[in-house]
């Protein structure tokens, strides 16, 4: 979909890339697909940010972090939160998913696999350590709004699964 594609001015890209997610610091806000638009007019930067979960306390911190990052480059950032279209895990980049996995969080699966894992108890979420899918859900909710808790039944590693949000 056209409206799903973010509009980011190329010269602002590296600055946005330097802003990590406060809860999952290996990921940048670009990896998560949270930036919908970034444009500059004479040193004034306008950023449209799509919050992940409504109550996620990281959202305000991210707004501050963006302003700080641009300030270092003598630019003033104006951050606007946009909730339409709503953020989806589909916007997480492939690179973002890879980093997530390496960090120990299983990235979101497809919508149907996600449903099987969270609702039907199917063993489809691969362990982030040994890659076995012999895993089970420990808790539907995890340490942050975006995650559920899983455990591997082969290597016994407990890990987070980033829930699919369509």
């Amino acid at each position: 979909m056209v409206k799903d594609k973010p509009k980011i001015a190329p010269h602002l890209q590296p600055i946005l890339e330097s802003v990590p997610d406060p809860e999952i610091p290996v990921l940048t806000i670009l990896d998560l697909g949270m930036i919908r638009e970034a444009t500059e007019v004479d040193g004034e930067v306008y950023v449209k940010l799509s919050p992940t979960y409504s109550g996620c306390p990281a959202t305000d911190v991210i707004g501050d972090d963006i302003r700080t990052a641009f300030k270092k480059h003598n630019m003033t950032a104006h951050v606007e939160f946009v909730i339409s279209p709503p953020w989806t895990t589909k916007w997480i980049t492939e690179d973002g998913k890879r980093k997530m996995r390496e960090y120990g969080i299983a990235p979101p699966l497809s919508e149907s696999a996600d449903k099987q894992a969270l609702l039907e108890g199917k063993k489809v979420v691969p362990c982030t350590l040994c890659r076995s899918t012999n895993t089970h859900m420990v808790s539907q909710f995890g340490s942050t709004p975006c995650k559920a808790l899983f455990k591997c039944d082969d290597c016994l590693e407990p890990f987070d699964y980033f829930k699919c949000l369509i």
Partner: protein
């Protein structure tokens, strides 16, 4: 368009989430197990997050000194228009789950309709809320089944909670004056039309959980007119404590 009616309508939708969020927040660090504690506080966080979007919009409509915080924190009891169900106390885990379930099923139906609203802001807030509300509904439905179809004790306790909270369900479908005005304008949801779907869905889950659908014919109401149960005062005292004690305090 009547701005005041829209403002009142928004509060009618949102106060439910605020008050339920506050109730759930009381359990932070006190849940029966780590997983349920995390789940309940996550749900509380979602509900409060949802409130912020609505109250920000309401504050913009109202103008003047009104802010999302003043709407959430500085009204008097009679000015809150949440349904009585969500202010009911936690009692035991059965009550927490029963209240959540009886609200979630309604909330989801309401959001599914509200996303079709002619008011773009409300429609987009609802579209975002649906995903979270769906997940809450799954959580509470699962627990209804686990407790109902669990041990003799869990069955008795969840049935007790369902029976006690049942008289608060009918109020969900009451249409107020400002609701009607917004329904006529194509903005609000006609909740009276959700009633059949609601009781059908609730009955299905209760049946699967081997629980009885209560048959009582007596129902409470008043929340939507600001007339609350005795549990509301203490809840507000805690919710508003900080803003009342240190006015205009910020993070």
């Amino acid at each position: 368009m009547n701005k005041q009616a829209l403002y009142d309508y928004i509060l009618g939708v949102t106060d439910n989430s605020l008050i339920l969020g506050q109730r759930l927040g009381e359990l932070c660090g006190h849940g029966p197990s780590l997983e349920t504690d995390i789940a309940i506080t996550n749900i509380a966080l979602d509900l409060l997050g949802q409130c912020r979007s609505y109250y920000q919009y309401a504050a913009k409509l109202k103008g003047g000194d009104t802010t999302e915080d003043s709407i959430a924190m500085l009204r008097t009891e009679r000015e809150y228009v949440n349904v009585l169900l969500v202010e009911q106390p936690n009692e035991h885990f059965g009550y927490v789950i029963a209240r959540q379930f009886l609200f979630d099923v309604f909330h989801l139906l309401q959001m599914q309709e509200l996303q079709k609203s002619k008011d773009e802001t409300l429609a987009s807030i609802a579209a975002k809320n649906i995903k979270e509300t769906l997940y809450h509904t799954r959580f509470s439905s699962d627990w209804i089944k686990r407790l109902g179809d669990g041990t003799e004790v869990s069955h008795a306790k969840i049935q007790e909670a369902i029976n006690d909270l049942w008289p608060y369900t009918k109020e969900l479908f009451e249409v107020t004056e400002s609701d009607q005005e917004m329904i006529d304008a194509g903005i609000g949801v006609d909740v009276s039309k959700l009633k059949d779907a609601y009781y059908k869905q609730v009955a299905e889950v209760l049946e699967e959980a081997t629980l009885k659908v209560p048959e009582g014919k007596y129902f409470h109401k008043g929340g939507k007119q600001g007339i609350h149960t005795e549990h509301m005062g203490p809840l507000l005292a805690e919710l508003q404590y900080m803003q009342r004690t240190y006015p205009n305090m910020n993070w």
